[in-house]
């Protein structure tokens, strides 16, 4: 992104839902906000999961559940509900849904296995190590 604007806990309204959902972070490339351009919008869902003693298949199952949730809530067409946000009130298509795991409890092997599986489940995966 050229000019990223990242906002926390940003309300997103999806069609057919009664209430907005709040995405952990919404990143918008302000360089793509000019008329005629398609805004680049990325959503980030942060999850803390206990991967201790999980096997590969159990870890992938967890990834799948979190990816399903993130895709259901923070992908596709959304209306930004945060007042003051440059996209406030506008309907935009989320370009990419990201999932962020706390990486401390994940073994290098599970990290690799999950990173490689994530695109198949429709998300880009990152690890946060505090």
């Amino acid at each position: 992104m050229k000019q990223p604007l990242v906002t926390d806990n940003t309300g997103l309204q999806r069609e057919g839902r009664a209430h907005p959902v709040y995405v952990d972070q919404l990143a918008v490339d302000q360089a793509t906000l000019s008329p005629g351009l398609r805004p680049s919008v990325h959503s980030f869902s942060n999850k803390q999961r206990n991967f201790a003693s999980k096997t590969e298949k159990e870890a992938v199952q967890q990834l799948e559940l979190d990816a399903r949730e993130a895709r259901a809530k923070y992908s596709g067409e959304v209306e930004v509900r945060r007042p003051g946000h440059p996209l406030f009130g506008e309907k935009v298509r989320v370009s990419q849904t990201h999932l962020i795991y706390d990486g401390t409890g994940l073994s290098p092997k599970l990290k690799e296995a999950l990173l490689r599986a994530a695109p198949e489940y429709g998300v880009e995966l990152h690890f946060y190590v505090p």
Binding site: A67, G105, P108, E112, E120
Partner: protein, 454 residues
Amino acid sequence: MVSNFTSMSPDEWNKSDSFHLDLFSHVRPLDQGFEALEPLLEVIESLSDDLRPDRIHHTRRELKYSRQALRKRLRESYIGTNTVIRLVRSQPPEAMISLNGWEYDSQPISTVKISIEPFAFLREPGQAERRAGQLVSFVRAIASCLPLTFGLGHSFTDVCLGTDPTVKDLSTPRPIYETFWLNVYGPAMVQALGRQRLLSTPAALMEELPHGAVLWLTRPTPADFDSEEARLAQARALVHLRPELSLDSTLSTLRQRSLEFSPVPMEFDPDVADILRMEADFQGVLGGKRSLVERFNRYHPPPVSEWLPASRAPAPDVDDVKATIDTYEGLYAEQLVALFHTEVPQVMKGTLEALPHLDWHLWHMGWGRRLSHEQRETLVPSLGAFLSRYLVEVLGGRWVPRKKLEEAAVVIGDRAWLPFLRARHALQNQEAPLDYSCSQLFRTAQRLARAHSH
């Protein structure tokens, strides 16, 4: 006591490894409906008993596998426009087969993947050839119903240690970065390399597949992927396909990687050996186990300093000795169990192995560094009291409660141990849970108590 000198088999050393077979196609079978998937399911159903999956894993509730069940729950395969099907085994070995349809660079792509854990399954004496043969037949059968663009079968750890971006970036054709035990090149790659050049690659098996793809093996089985013979075969094949590379440097890179798979004896300080071993096993070969073990072999924690001669230990200065001990045992120690019972289930049982597991967890998760002031002030009494429990209950120690927690002691023989002071030291920085482990204090106290009673 943990055995100090351990000689280890390569399988034991690399026990977290798995075997991965990944096949890629630009055709997404489910896009043409369930019927298009059935030939692939037939291939999976005809795997032998020791590989065939029997459970559907991607559905909301895990189900017994049948084609009908899968068809009935087809809706649950969709995540947006992606489709996932994951079949697993309920019996060892762990095997996971996925048939996924997704997008790469806005292009449709599908994958057929098998992962088998542990890798040792493919090394089992007397079975290695048959199992390798079965995987090769699987690839043949899949290739006859799905046009393949690329594929590989290899030790997952070795793939990850390599530098091949192909498995992450699937646009073809592209230079070949690595060769694996099993290799599938689709028509675009075959054309880019030249079919004749490819077919004359030194290989254990070279076979043309339907839809213009080529399947080839560097070795008869994946079992010896890190051996000198296998590395030579991988290097020779790679240099044949990319003549600008030098055999010597290709081979030396691969040999270097093989070193990671050869066990280094663990000669850890016995007072913290199990903590270090948990960390080495957690990191595994992919996490640089070899250099970790070499570093841990040189590591010795500082001698335990949190004690006084019993004769110099101050007398209790609290108003109610019994009530204070009840607070230590009933409140503080229980608080620790409440805090850690999920992540360190051993603390629930109160067995001796709980101490090293707790030490490792505190160290590994960076608790010495991550705590806020309030969290630290809560955890110090809990950890100190939890350690004290072992000194009192296992070693027969006697409580000496004090108003100032760090002065509170447990007297065993001629020493007064200061568990709360130890806990404070253990939580002062990143490495402190190891340098000031509960395990080391307990083991030191245990040795001295034994010596004292003789």
